[in-house]
């Protein structure tokens, strides 16, 4: 079954994700009329659109049957795919991080840093992260009664945390933020390196390749430093790590830094900013949360579901199989639509309502299976600390203008959340 052309064009349109409603409307129709069907947008190879929660989980937990690395792990155009393969010696990827790997490499590379990100290890970071959170909230209070919560707090706090974990100096944080926004905001004229919306074109691929090159140049220097002077940071683990008794493949090591330095803060920033935006629009939920701080974890989980900062990943079938009663051929490309899964009426009661006490709230915002987000425990802890510190000080908050999201069909969240507030 082929989905309607206007919907196929919408679900890959970065502008539609920025607005939000067109995406929710398109997926609502698909979940009802074509929950697992083929899209053929102009200039893009055909792909299956996976919209139901259960189908997303089913595919994500079969990591041998559905690979990340065989074709591009994110949606791309025919033109961009051709160009990347020419640049990368046949590979469809500009980087080779955990996201682009399959087993046995994926497991070996993931194990390298997994211990760092486990709850029992990051627990020791809690006092320092609380200090960082307080400093950003003091800064917010110093703004008086108005600020842009996305730009002034939400972007900067998780950035500072992950950069401390990586051992990147504070003076380099603006550079890391800029490069991250260039990478994830390649389709957004305000954020892209080239200053236009050239994603999926030759110019767009060149811009992303330049950003990746700048990251690699930066982390080459970090690698050399950590090999000479190992510290207790994740960069030292990557620089000195071994896979099967050998140092990490250089390109994979550089890609490891890049994913940690980008996905390690941007998605948490998006969720934090969107979480406050949601509370501004749902003052009853804010009141409930302020009255009962034990709901903070519920609010965090709901903000993760609500935001679904990673909108999709792609998988490739490694053999002929069947999904949702339909035949999928070896080599077929599948788009896992997490935002749709997290609004699935068959999985969530009243999915378009924001509820800080939603129970149960099992979502797919962090993915599922072997590729589930490595940093999910850190993300939850950072957000818990921020809300624990912010809510008792926040007397009131409301929107002070219209928030804006980044134009992106991949990682997407607010780039501006203007607020008016009273803090003690």
């Amino acid at each position: 079954m082929r989905i309607a052309q206007d919907i196929a064009e919408t679900i890959i349109d970065p502008k539609a994700y920025a607005v939000g409603t067109p995406i929710d409307d398109a997926f609502r129709v698909l979940r009802k009329e074509a929950p697992f069907a083929i899209a053929e947008p102009t200039g893009v190879d055909p792909f299956w659109v996976v919209t139901k929660f259960d189908d997303i989980q089913l595919i994500e937990r079969q990591n041998d049957l559905f690979h990340n690395g065989d074709r591009s792990a994110v949606l791309t155009t025919i033109e961009a795919d051709k160009m990347v393969r020419e640049m990368m010696g046949g590979s469809p990827h500009l980087v080779r991080s955990l996201v682009q790997m399959d087993n046995p490499d994926h497991m070996a590379y993931r194990r390298l840093t997994q211990a760092w990100f486990l709850p029992q290890n990051i627990k020791k970071l809690e006092p320092r992260i609380r200090e960082i959170a307080r400093s950003f909230l003091d800064r917010m209070a110093a703004f008086g009664t108005e600020c842009d919560f996305a730009r002034d707090v939400a972007f900067l706090y998780p950035l500072h945390v992950i950069m401390e974990i990586l051992g990147v100096p504070e003076s380099d944080e603006p550079k890391m933020l800029k490069l991250t926004q260039e990478l994830f905001g390649a389709a957004d004229p305000e954020l892209s390196r080239s200053g236009d919306a050239a994603q999926g074109t030759e110019a767009g691929v060149n811009s992303i390749a330049e950003t990746v090159g700048e990251f690699i140049e930066y982390f080459n220097a970090i690698t050399e430093d950590r090999r000479a002077n190992p510290r207790d940071d994740v960069s030292s683990v990557i620089a000195n790590g071994q896979i099967n008794g050998e140092p990490l493949d250089h390109f994979a090591a550089m890609s490891y830094y890049i994913i940690a330095a980008t996905a390690g803060h941007d998605t948490t920033s998006n969720t934090t900013a969107e979480g406050l935006w949601a509370l501004c629009n749902h003052q009853d939920e804010l009141a409930k949360l302020k009255a009962d701080p034990s709901l903070i974890n519920g609010h965090i989980e709901e903000s993760i579901r609500w935001t679904t900062a990673v909108k999709h990943f792609m998988r490739t079938a490694t053999e002929d199989t069947e999904v949702a009663g339909q035949k999928v051929a070896k080599g077929d490309w599948l788009m896992l639509c997490y935002q749709s899964g997290n609004r699935d009426e068959d999985h969530f009661d009243d999915p378009f309502a924001y509820k800080v006490d939603r129970t149960p709230n099992k979502h797919v915002a962090f993915g599922y299976g072997a590729h589930v987000c490595l940093g999910q425990h850190l993300a939850r802890m950072e957000m818990r600390i921020l809300w624990e510190e912010l809510l008792p000080r926040l007397e009131s908050v409301e929107l002070n203008g219209t928030p804006k999201r980044m134009e992106s069909s991949f990682v997407c969240g607010p780039k501006s959340v203007p607020i008016r507030f009273k803090m003690n």
Partner: protein, 59 residues
């Protein structure tokens, strides 16, 4: 059995912790539910890893 005898189990894939003392009510596992009493076909709620791929951990 005393509370101190409760154990914690961790998913090898994603790090999810199952504390026998706390259980996981969202999974239908009441506080005090022993690991041995969880069905063998139960999977990690965060990533779907089978129960057999959990390790007992000391925290």
């Amino acid at each position: 059995m005393a509370d101190t005898d409760f154990k914690t189990w961790q998913c090898r894939t994603c790090g999810y912790l199952y504390d026998e003392a706390e259980g996981d009510p969202t999974e239908g596992l009441a506080p005090g539910t022993r690991w041995a009493d969880i069905p063998d076909d139960w999977v990690c709620p965060l990533c779907g890893t089978p129960k057999s791929d959990f390790d007992m951990v000391e925290l």
